[in-house]
Amino acid sequence: MQLLEYAIRGVPTGCVFALLAVGLVLTYKTSGVFNLAFAGQAYVSAIVYYELRKELEWPLVAAGVVSILIVAPLIGLLLERVLFRYLRSAGSMAKLVTSLGLLIAIPEIAKLVFGSETRKNPPPLWWVRRTDEWLWPEGATFVLDAGQIATMASTLIVVVGLVVLFRFTNLGLRMRAVVESPRLAELSGVDSERVSMAAWMLSSVLAGLAGVLVAPLFASLNPFDLFTLLVAALAATVFGGLTSIPLTFLGGILLGVLQAVLAGTLPTDSVLTNGLRPSLPFVVLFLLLLFRPGLRSTRELADPLATVDAPPPPPVVRARPPWVATGARAFGTVAALIAFLVSWFVLDQYWLGLAISGLILSVTMMSLIVVVGMGGMLSLCQAALAAIGAFALAQVVQATGVPVVVGLVAGVLIAAAVGALLAVPVVRLDGVYLALATLAFALMFQSIFVPLSWVSGGAVPISVPRPVVGPLDLSDDRYFLVFVIVCATATALVVIRLREGTTGRFLQALQTSDVAAASIGINGPRARVVAFTIAAGIAGFGGGLTAIDLGQASYEASFPYLIGLVWVALLVSAGARSIQAAVMSGLFFFLFPALLDKLFALPGNWVESNPDAPSWVASIANAVQPTWAQSVAFILFGIGAITYAKHPEGSIEAQTTASINALVRRVEARNGDREQAPVGAGVGPGAGGSTP
């Protein structure tokens, strides 16, 4: 009976999970997008509701209607019109990366619009406060608060409503038809444009509703908590196989109940309980992904009419003359040399520090090249693996007193070992499922392992001294820069060799045709495990360097899982296979916000030094908030990821290719004029075909 009471206590939480999970399932069912940005959309509605209720003191109904029924669907409509309508036939990976970009950008846009101050005690979407003041005034043993009642009621209404929509109405049927095959649906007279808009508006309303309802669970409103809660709810989504709304609902309730029962029955204060309680949803998510039957046979939604389209025109491939490669190498060397000289002689401590951090991040980014770019696996746990490298380095050095450089190697090995253990079950999953499993791992690591003192050293991060390597004392940042350059170059060489060698060719084959790769005898799982392991080792290397850089191995400062998501968005949008993209995005991540910061500080500085500056400058200076730089930078990072669908090879890669091609064309044109070379000389049949 005690157990039953615990179970009942879990139902309200279960409803929270269920509501978020059902919202995700709805989006997936009606748009084919596994929409991580759901949390961002929820956040916007929650902010609007907060501002209307608390700042403008609107009545509850009006605030609810505006935030959930007007603002939310407008956002959905906007996303559909400017973004997702163009992605309908894109792969699930492109859609996922796009939603990742939105997840990063939307909350920051909301902060720019509504201000980034802390919003304490989000108001509930209900009039009464607690059941004991309302229903059972005397001697209530089991008390629900307003938020819980509202959530339970809304969840029930939503679930019943959606089941009715999909079972019994025409619109529901048409929504599913449009996802399965927009063209087939249109042939049978469905206006897929309008149905798709309706679907996005509906799912956005659910996001808004969830955001407003869930917000009071937290002491203050912030997008990270919402997203973490969303990831917890993913367990229910996966329980429902990403498509079944009733099963998802059931999964959410079960998850809440399980959590409550464990919390009630496990001994309090044991390590197990403390670790398990917050991490249970992630553990469940991870296990479900690995073991839920039928999950892997749910194929990616593919348009059966896709092959009806004329095949895309064969890419015009120009044979690049050898001088291009030589030129590019010379250019790269000169640029790197100039950058180094500037860093050495010009940069002050602050900028030099940022450049070093950026270069170290590019090492971590190179691990993403191996796993995402070469392996085709969207790993969302590289930050956790980097943290493992850093912790291992710190622990080994502290425990044994070996030189830091030896600790660095140990960190790489341990991170690679953890990566290998994780990879064995995970590489069997495809696409979205692998991304979710690695995300679950990142959160398990954060909630179970990071608090343990044998992992992170406990509350106070373990400090890591800068080593002395040969004649160089690396506590001088300029010598440390040299050390980091050597490390980054070595990593880059290894990655390039792997990419161009047998490993890279096998992975390339697997990525573009799994069945064909198997048909020539390539062992796919093994190749993927190897790639994942190497990437984990490289991430551990980057993490170890980060610890040396900062002088400590700190999870909060360097490796929160959300930062890892930003890294993925950045690298993938710059070019997931390109070393150049890894270096640029690593530097960009640190230097760009700092530059913006300086830029935004200009008006203020100017006013300070010129007391009689015009008043409009002063008002600009007053308007600028210190968080703007970070917000603008993250918005741009997010928008970068959104362009991924258009340039899957990455913007930097696309830009480079375009400029090189233009250069080659120009040089060839000039040579042609001078030498009167015969048309098409030296070019394979068709290869020189004129480009429009």
Binding site: T502, S519, I520
Partner: protein, 254 residues
């Protein structure tokens, strides 16, 4: 039984509701050119998938080269000597024709690997290039070697698939409708290529084909599938003149 290179017995495969294959038994002898024909949806591709391990049959055994391969994954069966092409062409993205052959050769010889990649860069050796050149020449693909495979016509693409399969030095080659989507000229070219392969390499071939003249020209033996069942099997002329086959497959009425 003993001289069969491939012997499948009682292979049954169901997909939610429909029976794609019903207790199909089939043999291919070493060096033989055999064909499977049958109308669309008869289960021919499913049969290939079951034999090469892409699909797991619900019932039935497959013995290849003297040992049961039922528990082997497609990659392991490939290394045991099965190679195949696909009805819907499956080329690797971002690779030249030569890369396709090299990668298949590496998969077979298992040369290279992590350490070799990092230490030496694993550039193609002269022997590897020679093996690739031989296959390219056999199929008349030399001049396309450095072209990205995606940029080729369907006919050339199918030849690249064939070349890639040959690089595995298979004992048995499964070809799933190599002429589908090709015009008359390309079909002839494919037929010639297959004949050359058969003559010069002596590999056993199991061919799925719609084009009856092509089958008549190439195959020594034919098996006929209809609605998942094997309705006839035997020497080519015999089977093609069989009344049952003519009704099921060629649409003959009398």
């Amino acid at each position: 039984m003993s001289d069969a290179l491939l012997s499948a017995s009682g292979v049954t495969k169901r997909y939610a509701g429909i029976v794609a294959l019903q207790a199909v038994s089939l043999e291919v002898r070493a060096g033989e050119f055999a064909a499977v024909i049958g109308p669309n949806g008869a289960g021919k591709s499913t049969l290939f998938d079951c034999l090469t391990g892409v699909q797991r049959p619900d019932r039935g055994q497959v013995v290849f080269d003297g040992r049961p391969v039922d528990s082997l994954k497609p990659a392991a069966r490939a290394r045991a000597g099965m190679a195949r092409t696909f009805q819907r062409i499956e080329l690797f993205g971002g690779m030249t024709v030569l890369d396709h052959l090299l990668v298949a050769d590496r998969a077979r010889t298992r040369r290279g690997g992590l350490l070799a990649d990092v230490l030496t860069g694993s550039h193609p050796s002269p022997e590897e290039l020679a093996r690739c050149a031989a296959v390219l020449e056999l199929l008349g693909l030399e001049q396309w070697a450095d072209r990205p495979a995606e940029s080729l016509t369907l006919g050339k693409g199918r030849l690249v698939e064939l070349a890639r399969a040959l690089m595995c030095e298979p004992k048995l080659l499964f070809l799933d409708e190599p002429s589908s989507g090709l015009d008359r000229h390309e079909t002839d070219e494919m037929g010639n290529a297959l004949q050359r392969v058969q003559h010069e390499r002596g590999i056993a071939v199991l061919l799925i084909e719609h084009d009856v003249p092509l089958v008549e020209r190439l195959a020594e033996r034919i098996s006929v599938l209809d609605y998942g069942e094997l309705i006839a099997s035997g020497p080519t002329e015999e089977v093609l003149s069989d009344q049952k086959v003519r009704i099921a497959y060629l649409g003959a009425t009398t």
